[in-house]
Amino acid sequence: MNLISFFRRPATAPIAKDRLKLLLAHERGAVGASNVIALLREEIVAVIAKHFPVEGDAIKVRMETGDVISTLEVEVEIPTQLCAEIKGAEKDKAATTLKVTASA
């Protein structure tokens, strides 16, 4: 460390700006996406209910925000008994989970 750098403290404002931009990009996404997710959930329930008698709360839609990619996770729980009747398989588990993960 030389004398000049001792007296001149490093600029912290650019760091503040970068941190804010990154954070707000996430937060705005989360707030804005919540409506889209609610909408997606309703539509997915409607489609699945055509084929399986599932309840609304058996379907979970989640948005995971990562650094580079974000994932949209859709989880549908169907009673195994029902599944067995339709498919004639899978009798051990209490419930069968249909999981779809898509990159967004």
Partner: protein, 271 residues
């Protein structure tokens, strides 16, 4: 046509009440009939900043609940006749404010005044959403500091979702008022610059109020900076912001309070 302005921020302590008072005086000096409404129920301070703390008899909640008439609760400023204020209650809590009651008071104020300036409480709860509910114009008070900028971003989202105008599908005019700005520190990279905050929040700028000793002096005295006979840099920023609110186009002046070495030593003593 009366306009309702909300002064809001999300974060506390950034200068909402100071700015409400200074802008109110500036607009009134410009010839408009102005009323300042304190929405900070339980923590009222606009009366103190305006120097009217000993004249409060009735408050917003008394009017909302029908215990007092609007004319009884309004406090007319002794220095500027076309400026009034409606204090908040200090003893009640904000649940005493009803949606319909506030709507009725605002409608009544619109018949008497040109500008209704609502001083919002901090936070994003009911008090803050009630203060912004009927606004046509919003001023988002922000300090060049990370937590204030983040909270302002949140408030901007609320303005676009929870106001009557937004619900009707109309635009609410939003302006950024940057306060406690230190141009020299921003230049040295120690503080977010005006451009940085504007880039992040992306709403138009209505004024830059410099960090100044005058602000504390003004609240000590209960006399907003814009009342002073010789307006300093913060007062000039508020006067310009008030003219911009009235639709004038004025060049934005960067308050450059940079003093030299001797200025720092002797200037401080003189102030």
């Amino acid at each position: 046509m009366a306009k309702v302005l909300v002064v809001t921020s999300g974060k506390g302590g950034v200068g909402k009440t100071t700015s409400t008072a200074a802008l109110g005086v500036a607009l009134a000096k410009g010839g408009k009939n102005v009323v300042l409404v304190d929405f900070d129920v339980g923590l009222r301070n606009l009366d103190l900043v305006m120097g009217a703390e000993r004249r409060v008899v009735y408050d917003l909640i008394n009017v909302v609940q029908g215990d007092a008439k609007l004319a009884q609760a309004l406090i007319r400023d002794k220095r500027i006749p076309n400026l009034s204020m409606l204090p908040a209650s200090q003893t009640r809590d904000k649940d005493a404010l009803t949606d319909e009651g506030v709507a009725r008071v605002i409608a009544e104020l619109k018949e008497r005044f040109d500008w209704i300036i609502c001083d919002s409480p901090a936070g994003i709860e009911r008090g803050a959403t009630l203060a912004m509910r009927h606004a046509d114009v919003a001023i988002v008070v922000t300090n060049p500091e990370v937590s204030s900028v983040r909270d302002s971003d949140r408030i901007i989202g609320l303005l676009d979702a929870k106001t009557e105008r937004a619900e009707r599908g109309e635009q609410i005019q939003k302006h950024l008022l940057l306060t406690r700005y230190d141009a020299a520190r921003a230049e040295r990279g120690e503080m977010l610059k005006v451009e940085d905050v504007l880039e992040i929040l992306s709403i138009p700028l209505i004024g830059i109020v410099p960090e100044s000793e005058e602000i504390l002096r003004a609240s000590n005295l209960g006399a907003p900076v814009t009342l002073a006979a010789n307006p300093g840099a913060p007062a000039r920023a508020y006067f310009d912001a008030a003219r911009r609110l009235n639709g004038e186009t004025i060049e934005m002046i960067m308050p450059n309070d940079r003093k030299g070495f001797f200025g720092k030593i002797f200037g401080r003593r003189a102030a």
